[in-house]
């Protein structure tokens, strides 16, 4: 009995991690109908900024200060992702490119001729821009744009921190808490506290969505930006707000789950995929349905792991990771609005 409960607790713990990952995606999608493929990287960047600030041997900052700076940096990253990948802002894209070229030059081993070429190419692109044909239209632009930003962020982080894949072992906010034993079930205190924070975050975001002017504005902007603008809504500000808020939520989520999962600099894509699966399974148009999707996914995954190790002597265990993708495919095709969702998905007419 307590074994089964223990498994369920494991599943819920896993589910809470997924729920935390999924929330930010829902905030962005609800407002802009964009699936942010750079979500995981935003989280990882925020977490590593906090980690470096809190644990560097020279001048370690107190954890809350470091976390706050990490969140602010994350929000900045979220806004840059929006400006570059979704808005297609030439100025911000150019600035990001310039920083990246400078970073590459600083880190390269020779090959100056090529840098000259790179610089000339970049400059001529910028000069030619006005005369180029129309760009890519529709979702292909932001799908590829957010993926490009994700790669840039990940590789940028690897370039700075190193690709050794060193996991963060920074103490989380609740590492001091002991464990709770209830009827033979072990409940680690930090996991309980994380769950409580996740719950508070879901409730707060849900209230923001349903009870505030800003929440209604988000929905209006998603439904019809032009009509929303005519109703006096500052559409750009609402979208900036959504990307910023989503990035902040992502970093907070990252800080909460750090003690449970120990992120590595290269873990961004994994978080993005898991967050996408969780949010789409639950329903990506609301924070609470996305979060519920995370719980469903986590419990399913743990049950599946236990189930697969019981049948056929565990030989099916290698298939475990594949199931996440099967679940995503099935949900997208059968229940495109998610289990708890309401909004129609963009489907062929």
């Amino acid at each position: 009995m307590s074994d089964a409960v223990q498994i369920l607790v494991q599943g819920l713990t896993q589910g809470i991690v997924y729920a935390l990952l999924a929330m930010g995606l829902a905030v962005v999608f609800r407002t802009s109908r964009v699936l942010n493929f750079a979500h995981g990287e935003t989280l990882v960047v925020g977490v590593f900024v906090t980690y470096v600030l809190a644990t560097n041997p020279l001048r370690p900052l107190p954890y809350p200060v470091a976390a706050l700076i990490g969140i602010v940096v994350g929000v900045g990253v979220g806004l840059v992702v929006y400006l570059v990948a979704v808005r297609g802002s030439a100025a911000v894209s150019g600035a990001v490119l310039a920083v990246m070229i400078a970073a590459l030059v600083a880190r390269s081993q020779g090959g100056w001729v090529w840098f000259l070429g790179l610089g000339v190419a970049a400059a001529s692109l910028v000069l030619l821009r006005g005369r180029l044909q129309e760009g890519l239209s529709g979702s292909i632009r932001w799908v590829l744009g957010t993926i490009a930003m994700a790669t840039l962020l990940q590789e940028g982080l690897v370039a700075i921190i190193g690709s050794t894949g060193e996991a963060v072992v920074v103490p989380g906010p609740f590492s001091g808490l002991g464990t709770l034993h209830v009827f033979g079930v072990v409940l680690p205190g930090d996991q309980l506290a994380t769950a409580a924070c996740a719950l508070i975050l879901v409730i707060a975001l849900d209230l923001l969505e349903s009870r505030t002017r800003y929440g209604r504005a988000m929905k209006a902007v998603a439904y019809n930006p032009d009509a929303a603008a005519l109703m006096g809504i500052d559409v750009q500000r609402v979208i900036y707000g959504a990307f910023g808020l989503a990035a902040a939520v992502a970093v907070v989520a990252g800080l909460l789950i750090t003690p449970l999962v120990s992120p590595k600099p290269t873990d961004g894509p994994m978080y993005t995929v898991v967050a996408l699966v969780a949010a789409l399974v639950g329903g990506i148009d609301r924070v609470r349905s996305a979060a519920l999707g995370g719980i469903v996914l986590g419990v399913t995954e743990v049950l599946l792991r236990e189930g697969l190790s019981d049948i056929a002597g565990g030989r099916l265990l290698p298939l475990r990771d594949a199931f996440v993708y099967v679940i995503l495919i099935v949900v997208l095709l059968v229940l495109p609005r998610g289990i708890f969702g309401t909004r129609k998905v963009e489907r062929a007419t």
Binding site: R107, A121, Q133, A148, T151, A159, P269, D321, L332, A348
Partner: protein
């Protein structure tokens, strides 16, 4: 006219390109360079050629092609390792790729945009997971999916063990694949794919069947990824699941963007060349920052050159030195015509006033049997005044609202039949249900006595229904000429268009010439080579009508022809519609404008709240008290 359309001969460019691609094999024996050339040159070119048709053609973004590539490589490797000849390796790989392509492609038909991208991404990840997991499931935890030393192809006495020979082999295989993909873009099939990309509904009213178009493009790209997989399987001495990463799907798309999306030759060729340069630079100078370099190029292309290197080359003087590079025969024909054509009065003053004369001349020429200037001289139209289109008791609800609620009417052959009624009375819904874009809840639609009710839109279009839309549905990504040519389906099946046989090429020229004549008859000749989105509103409406009429439909549905036009354009539009009737067309027109109705209509059917409230000649209908009630309010008819 035909010689004008023939344009420049382009095969020397192809030969030159192939020669350039083969030069490295003469210059170097360095296995590293040759490896780059095989893996990122030839193999990438094949994958990109297929992806270009899929993404550039139909606009379906697949982020899962590495799954197809990897599955194919493994299928080929297992067959090759069993000691079978290389050709069977290739067959196994392509078969496996097609099977995976079907598994991904069929469900993908239901989704598009980001959801399609995400689904394909999941499929790609799944395929890679399964490749490494299945051997462990079948043979226990210790098993690996590594296959070593898959044999290289044997050509008679030559075994291609060295990288030099294999490089030549791969390039010689890649060249025809790139040519095949280019043929797609140069054919009616390719234009149809792009029509599906731009607007599925409008494409189906042109008789294009959406499912085969999308699935065909998916399978084509899968087959090419499969062939590339076969080449990869016998290239790498050690094939392991680690060779394939989910990111590779994205790398394929990046490479294609670098080359130029939807650029028929530049896309795959420059994409592959760009990949070689990027990988070489990355491995030589940037070591661990190779992925950063790729991401940087990706972002730069997205932000500053969304048409890729191909788009940039179009802007360089190279174009003047190499005539015809970077455009299809059809496009160069249009350009040649546009520079020759006398300046049309429409351009001088975009009022449409003088266009009337042009349109009327073009169409009456057709009426008088002087058929050289019109698109379809053979277009015989029914002349008996029999019921041509009949709708019976049509019902269609949207949500709880009955948009049309039991509508009956007959359209007689050779008539202009006008559907009028206030906003929301169900006029456009009628057209949607007749052309099959919306399914009726109940009721029937007959054309020449044949029941169309159960047919999808593209089948109805082929049966003889054409339509225009209130909100004009041209395909903005194509030129005016290409839009016009979409009205004229090819006689040849898709595979012959893919091979671009002599007949197909001749038909292309013929159809281009006909479409040019059509455009000239409609006063749009000099805009032939412009993007459809460059035309003015009135010109776009005319082009859409010309395109629909050029299909020689039995009945032409015209939705709000005068909406949004200024009075002079309205006059041209009325004359154009009258000229179409004079040429023997039957039209069902949705219209608001009373003067237009009075000028055009032979018969008027008035709808209100989804029900027919009056029918008859326009003068009688306009006096009908129920009609006056609806338009002017109850009791207005009794006012003095």
């Amino acid at each position: 006219m035909t010689d004008l359309v023939a344009g420049t001969r382009r095969w020397p460019y192809g030969i030159a390109l192939l020669a350039v691609a083969l030069v490295p094999a003469l210059l170097t024996d360095n296995p590293y360079y040759l490896r780059l050339g095989i893996q990122y040159g030839a193999i990438y070119a094949i994958v990109l050629a297929g992806l270009n048709v899929l993404i550039g053609g139909t606009g379906q973004v697949s982020l899962g092609h590495v799954g197809i590539f990897a599955t194919a490589a493994y299928a080929g490797a297992y067959v090759g390792a069993a000691g079978l000849p290389w050709i069977l390796t290739a067959v196994a790989a392509v078969t496996a790729a097609l099977a995976v392509g079907l598994v991904i492609g069929f469900p993908a038909l239901r989704l598009r945009g980001a959801y399609l991208a995400l689904t394909t991404l999941a499929f790609g990840l799944l395929a890679i997971q399964l490749i490494s997991a299945i051997p462990r499931v079948l043979a226990g935890a210790g098993a690996t999916a590594t296959v070593v030393d898959v044999p290289r192809p044997v050509l008679g006495p030559i075994v291609l063990t060295g990288n030099r020979g294999y490089y030549v082999f791969c390039i010689l295989l890649a060249a025809p694949m790139v040519a095949l993909a280019r043929n797609v873009f140069w054919s009616q099939s390719g234009r149809q794919l792009q029509a599906v990309r731009d607007h599925e509904g409008a494409a189906s009213t042109l008789g294009i069947s959406i499912v085969p178009a999308k699935l065909g493009a998916f399978l084509f790209s899968a087959a090419l990824a499969g062939l590339a997989g076969a080449l990869y399987a016998s290239f790498d001495p050690l094939l392991s699941p680690d060779n394939f990463k989910a990111e590779d799907s994205i790398t394929f798309v990046i490479a294609l963007l670098v080359g130029g999306l939807a650029a028929p030759v530049a896309g795959p060729v420059l994409g592959a060349a760009g990949s070689i340069v990027l990988v070489y630079l990355g491995q030589t100078y940037f070591r661990s920052y190779q992925a950063l370099l790729t991401a940087l190029v990706f972002l730069a292309i997205l932000a500053f050159a969304p048409r890729g290197l191909g788009g940039l080359l179009r802007r360089t003087p190279l174009r003047r030195l190499l005539p015809g590079v970077g455009e299809t025969l059809v496009q160069s024909a249009a350009k040649a015509r546009a520079t020759d054509a006398p300046r049309s009065p429409i351009e001088a003053s975009d009022t449409g006033a003088d266009a009337t004369a042009v349109v009327a001349v073009g169409l009456s020429a057709r009426e008088n049997g002087d058929t050289t200037t019109v698109a379809h001289p053979a277009g015989t139209v029914l002349v008996e005044r029999a019921p041509l289109l009949e709708v019976q008791d049509l019902v269609k609800s949207y949500g709880g609202v009955r948009a049309i609620d039991g509508v009956d009417f007959l359209v007689k052959s050779g008539d202009i039949h006008v559907l009028m009624g206030p906003n929301g009375s169900g006029k456009s819904t009628c057209l949607d249900v007749i052309c099959g874009l919306a399914a009726a809840d109940s009721g029937r639609v007959f054309l020449c006595g044949n029941d169309l009710t159960s047919m999808p839109a593209h089948a109805r279009a082929r049966a003889g229904i054409a339509r225009t839309f209130q909100e004009i549905r041209l395909f903005p990504g194509m030129t005016v000429l290409e839009n016009a040519m979409l009205g004229n389906p090819s006689r040849y099946r898709a595979w012959r268009q893919l091979l671009r046989t002599r007949g197909v090429a001749a038909e292309e020229r013929e159809h281009a010439a006909e479409a040019l004549a059509l455009l000239e008859a409609w006063g749009l000749g000099e805009f032939a080579s412009r993007a459809a989105s460059d035309l003015s509103y009135g010109q776009r409406k005319m082009l859409e009508l010309a395109r629909a009429a050029s299909r020689r439909p039995r009945v032409l549905l015209v939705d709000e022809p005068s909406a949004g036009l200024n009075p002079r354009w309205v006059a041209s539009m009325v004359e154009a519609l009258q000229a179409l009737r004079a040429a023997g067309h039957t039209l069902l027109v949705v219209e608001h404008h009373q003067d237009v109705i009075a000028d055009l209509a032979d018969t008027v059917t008035v709808l209100d709240s989804g029900v027919v409230i009056a029918e008859g000649p326009p003068a009688a209908v306009q006096r009908d008290p129920r009609v006056v009630d609806v338009y002017l309010g109850p009791g207005a008819a009794r006012l003095p």
